[in-house]
């Protein structure tokens, strides 16, 4: 099927500074793609390029099969939602929703229809005559989404839309955005630095760093089989535990400890040499369950963070610190000896030099 958005060999540089390098990305019809990365990785820049708000240096952008590389933002068939809402302060909610349609010369009856539909979907009907200043943060962001909705376009672009909201509202609106996508079924590109948003919303996640896409895959792929050490560290909280050591026939050796890596699914056959062995805190078991795992270690509780649902425990194993996610009911005290165990099949092993997955 024809991709909804196709980015081909995109380059963007400001003077001598290269921000996006030879970037290729195809986004399917109705797909929810999340661009994830820490600040300065180029994710918002990429979104602005797709929207046409930044002039690109080289490459092409196709939206809906049409080459829009030189098109104005308004002619690209996109709607965009910004982090700061970017509502026009002097216009009412209705004015905000209709501004773009009036500019495009849409007939009045159709404007009214579209506004009514968007207001109904987003439940902002009672707010239509208010000014943005009289709205709460969540309501403002709804109106901003509505402004994209009335444009009746195939592609929605979200630029960190929930970052300005408090935690509770963020979770609520996240659900609403997901529902909106299920209802409308149009293509959405969503920029965020929040991995929870990325994991929960995305069909596919593109993890970016330094203007490059490090890994593009489903949330599950990214979580279970991170392509490199950066991705492995970026996804998951607390982040993955790493052992610095050496891989050989006997298994993995990290200074004083040695354990088997049988069951690990090597990407290109078993390799030997210096490596990072990574295991997520939630894949380390404790107590009686630990006994059943192929690899068993023992450590001293060093720091305890109770979260209610879980308890995060930092263990001192030899001279290294390992985070373990325990059941919320277990309440270890500092200094307790804790038996841990894990299965190397759930681990991720990365080459020491290239930091790529082995």
């Amino acid at each position: 099927m024809e991709p909804s958005i196709s980015i081909r060999n995109l380059d963007l540089s400001f003077g001598a500074v290269s921000v996006l390098k030879d970037l290729n990305l195809d986004i399917g019809q109705g797909e929810f793609l999340v661009l994830l990365g820490s600040s300065g990785c180029g994710k918002s820049t990429l979104l602005n390029c797709i929207a046409g708000l930044l002039d690109i240096t080289d490459g092409q952008i196709f939206i809906g099969g049409r080459n829009v590389t030189w098109e104005e933002p308004s002619k690209r068939g996109i709607g965009m939602v910004f982090q700061s809402y970017a509502l026009y302060p002097q216009m009412t909610v209705e004015g905000n929703l209709t501004f773009g349609l009036k500019n495009a010369g849409v007939p009045k009856t159709e404007i009214a229809q579209r506004v009514a539909r968007a207001a109904k979907i987003l439940q902002i009907e009672p707010l239509l005559n208010r000014k943005p200043a009289a709205l709460s943060g969540g309501q403002r962001q709804r109106v901003a989404i509505g402004r994209a909705l009335v444009r009746d376009v195939d592609v929605f672009l979200f630029d960190e839309p929930l970052s300005n909201l408090d935690a509770k509202l963020r979770a609520d609106l996240r659900v609403e955005i997901k529902q909106l996508h299920q209802t409308l079924d149009n293509t959405m590109i969503y920029v965020t630095h929040d991995q929870i948003e990325a994991m929960t919303l995305a069909d596919r996640i593109a993890i970016m760093r330094g203007g490059l896409i490090l890994q593009l895959g489903t949330p599950d792929e990214i979580y279970t089989r991170p392509a490199n050490k950066y991705v492995a560290e970026f996804i998951g909280s607390p982040s993955m535990n790493f052992f610095d050591g050496h891989l050989d026939e006997s298994g993995f050796t990290a200074k004083d400890i040695n354990f088997t890596v049988d069951g690990y699914d090597f990407a290109n056959g078993r390799k030997h040499g210096p490596a990072w062995f990574g295991i997520r805190p939630e894949h380390i078991l404790t107590g009686a369950e630990a006994e059943t795992r192929p690899v068993r270690l023992s450590g001293t509780a060093d720091l305890v963070e109770p979260l209610g649902s879980d308890t995060l425990v930092r263990l001192r194993v030899g001279d290294r610190l390992i985070w373990v996610r325990m059941d919320g009911r277990s309440k270890p005290a500092i200094g307790d000896q804790i038996q841990i165990g894990f299965n190397p099949a759930r681990a991720s092993i990365f080459d020491k030099d290239s930091e790529e997955r082995l």
Partner: protein
């Protein structure tokens, strides 16, 4: 536990409690209010003398007590200053200068603000190639002393056939208002969130659409600030008025000078005072009407919306 409920011990004990008391007559207050009153008197006293003197007849003024209130209030000096005082050949008072000043100020203020706000908008939001160089050159213009440019502009206006006319003076005022006003507008528009501008572009608004329908309605305070700066600046201008116009086109300030500094006959202090007050009336009214908006506009850059 039971003991606590039956006989709750008072939790509040003697000692400081609640809001800290302030003394009305503390040394600090006396210093502050004392200084303010002295400074206010220092500023208001000349104004008081002017108002009082302008309401006295000449015999009363000759008695020499400038601080005494008028025994017999007369508005004759005001009438004379407005309609009868002689400047050079004409004897129709300040009224001629007033209308000249209105004809100079209104178009100058409108033109300079219209052009400067567009300049500022383009510089802040449509970063074109060489925008920074253009802006730097414009700002340097603000630091060149007027005196340096006086004569070259005389020649330019003469060559353009505008020397001595109101149009010429309006052009001069518009040009000289440009650097500072452009700076003012550029900084204000820069403080408008960039995403708002992006949203408008996605919504299909162009250069003029964004200017008139997004930026302009958002920027009322800064327009008021610019208007106040320009109205007072142009109304109070003396130098350009005297250099670039002919006597029949003199603005009010130049006429005032000619009335007050005339060396023939008796010095009519009451008429001079009335004339001065009349001249100062326009900026004063502008301040009173828009003072609040002025403060808001000045402070607007500091607070994020």
């Amino acid at each position: 536990m039971a003991d606590v409920t039956t006989n709750p011990a008072p939790r509040i004990i003697d000692g400081p409690r609640g809001r800290k008391p302030t003394r009305a007559l503390s040394g600090r207050n006396i210093m502050i209010y004392g200084t303010l009153i002295v400074v206010a008197l220092y500023y208001l006293l000349p104004l008081y003398v002017m108002v009082v003197t302008s309401l006295k007849g000449m015999p009363e003024i000759r008695m020499g007590n400038i601080f005494a209130p008028p025994v017999e209030i007369t508005f004759q000096p005001w009438v004379k200053a407005w309609a009868e005082a002689c400047t050079g050949l004409n004897c129709d008072g300040l009224s001629r200068g007033f209308w000249n000043s209105v004809q100079i100020t209104v178009p100058s203020v409108f033109l300079s603000i219209a052009i400067a706000s567009l300049n500022g908008y383009a510089l802040a939001n449509w970063r074109f190639k060489g925008a920074n160089i253009f802006f730097t050159i414009l700002i340097i213009g603000a630091f060149i002393p007027y005196q340096v440019m006086l004569y070259p502009i005389v020649i330019l206006l003469r060559e353009a056939g505008l020397y001595g006319s109101l149009t010429g003076l309006i052009i001069v005022h518009t040009i000289f208002g440009m650097p500072i006003l452009t700076l003012l507008f550029r900084n204000y528009f820069s403080s408008v969130p960039e995403e708002l501008f992006k949203a408008a572009r996605v919504d299909g608004a162009g250069f003029w659409g964004i200017y008139f329908r997004i930026m302009l309605p958002m920027s009322l305070p800064i327009f008021v600030v610019a208007m106040i700066l320009q109205v007072t600046g142009i109304w109070n201008d003396f130098l350009f008025g005297v250099v670039y116009t002919r006597p029949e086109n003199y603005p009010m300030t130049v006429q005032l000078n000619n009335i007050v500094n005339s060396v023939q006959g008796v010095k009519e202090y009451n008429v001079n005072m009335a004339a001065t007050l009349l001249t100062g009336l326009v900026p004063l009214i502008i301040y009173f009407i828009s003072g609040k908006l002025f403060v808001r506009g000045i402070a607007a850059g500091a607070v994020k919306g």
